[in-house]
């Protein structure tokens, strides 16, 4: 049964002369976890960022839950409120406390009452394991903690889909797992997710589908099992041989 939530059709994008996305077709079903992997510069981050229009596209169509992405303006803001985004560099609001980071969106965008937003914010911080840090500022937290706050901030908006743009790439190795654990529990909880990552373990464990990109194209799209054991393209074989041999 097909219930597409995010649909990209014939998407092309250039940065100057560089053709970063080439005829991208991608459908993400509701509740599906799609992990996008590929070498640096393959366009996977750009792909992720086009889905909530942090990057504009040159041609093609993107729609979320049946609605095409609007142009810049109020409508786009409303759509972005339904798409959670987690960045490589966390991007927590530096002048707000951890709790305020989580409640700012619900209060200012969704019009939630402060008391309700606070209660829900604390609940979410509890869920990502940092309730005790609620009154600290982002700079006082470790990278792993900051990234978990960022996930809570995105969840506070009750998004239809969550985008993760290399969420663990800026983390010390020992902090990667605490973030991946949170993401895994989201995945098993039924959240629709698009995850750009180099974490092959996470892809194996949590993904419904692995999308392999190279040079701006989607080269392969298959189940993790199939991708990691029997990739069909030479490019994917080569990539996997390089990252899995050590």
């Amino acid at each position: 049964m097909s219930d597409p939530l995010v649909v990209l059709e014939g998407v092309n994008k250039h940065f100057g002369d560089l053709h970063v996305l080439k005829d991208i077709d991608l459908t993400v079903e509701r509740g599906e976890v799609v992990v996008v992997i590929g070498p640096s510069g393959s366009g996977k981050s750009t792909l992720c960022r086009t889905i909530n229009r942090l990057e504009t596209i040159d041609s093609g169509r993107i729609s979320i839950d049946g609605k095409p992405l609007p142009e810049e303006g109020k409508e786009l803001a409303q759509l972005r409120a339904q798409v959670g985004m987690v960045f490589q560099s966390f991007n927590l609001f530096a002048h707000k406390t951890v709790l305020q980071n989580v409640t700012l969106g619900p209060i200012k965008v969704l019009g939630a009452k402060k008391a309700d937003a606070d209660a829900r914010g604390k609940e979410l911080l509890e869920r990502v394991g940092i309730a005790s840090q609620a009154d600290k500022y982002p700079a006082q937290l470790s990278g792993g903690q900051q990234q978990r706050v960022a996930i809570a901030r995105a969840l506070a908006m009750d998004p239809k889909v969550m985008l993760f743009d290399e969420p663990t790439s800026a983390l010390d190795p020992e902090m990667i797992n605490e973030v991946l654990d949170v993401m895994t529990s989201l995945a098993t909880g039924g959240m629709t997710m698009v995850v750009v990552t180099h974490e092959m373990g996470f892809a194996r464990r949590a993904a419904n589908r692995v999308v392999f990109m190279d040079a701006g194209r989607i080269v392969e799209s298959s189940t993790p099992e199939q991708f990691f054991t029997a990739p069909s393209s030479d490019r994917a074989k080569d990539f996997l041989s390089k990252i899995l041999t050590h």
Binding site: K74, A77, M85, F93, K108
Partner: protein, 214 residues
């Protein structure tokens, strides 16, 4: 010296006007300048162009020309105000261009990820600016803003040439009354400007320290 000490009330009155011109124009320029800075970083190209045009046109025009334009140009289109208000208007329009650049540089000092994160939770451009960017930019805006407002304080002296009683007119009036005390009078006026400017700078220092501490 007697002329100076015998006329301290004239100095006080004159420089109170200098100060009030500065304050009114500063408030006006802060509002207008912030709006222009917002236009310059907005996602709407025509607004960006308009903001850039304003800054380039006004910043590169002598203040005297702006004054002449306001004081003699506006009555042509039936906008008639007392000279004092014309002066506040001219100083506001002129200073806004410089405020806009100070605010814009502050906005650019905030990491782009902050704006991306706030857009990602669904905030509009104005919410992003007001709730996330400007509060963080503020500490970096204060130092250049202090320079802009000190320049404004001194620029109010141009108003003396357009029929507004302020520091320079007060000074000229006293010189006309007693030419023998010209040096003492000029020095006193200079000290008044100096005192006001230093006061302004101290105020901004204090403000910056407070903002950075919070």
């Amino acid at each position: 010296m007697d002329t100076v000490f015998g006329n301290l009330d004239v100095f006080a009155e004159a420089f109170a006007r200098t100060l009030s011109l500065t304050l009114f124009a500063a408030v006006g320029a802060l509002i207008l300048g912030t709006l222009i800075a917002a236009m310059r970083v907005s996602p709407v190209p025509p607004l960006r162009w308009l903001g850039a045009l304003y800054v380039q046109a006004v910043r590169n025009t002598p203040l005297t020309v702006v004054f002449t334009f306001v004081v003699f140009g506006l009555p042509e289109v039936d906008v008639k105000l007392p000279f004092y208000r014309f002066a506040v208007l001219a100083l506001t329009l002129y200073t806004a261009a410089f405020v806009a650049e100070a605010v814009r540089s502050g906005i650019n000092s905030v990491a782009t990820g902050q704006a991306e994160a706030s857009r990602s939770v669904g905030m509009t451009f104005m919410q992003t600016l007001r709730l996330v960017i400007l509060p963080q930019a503020f500490a970096n805006i204060i130092p250049p803003l202090a320079s802009v407002f000190i320049a404004l304080l001194k620029n109010t002296s141009i108003a003396s040439a357009f029929g507004v009683f302020e520091g320079i007119q007060g000074m000229n009036q006293l010189i006309n009354d007693d030419g023998s005390a010209v040096i003492a009078i000029i020095l006193t006026a200079a000290i008044c400007y100096l005192g006001l400017a230093l006061g302004l700078a101290a105020l901004f220092n204090q403000l910056e320290r407070r903002v950075r501490a919070s």
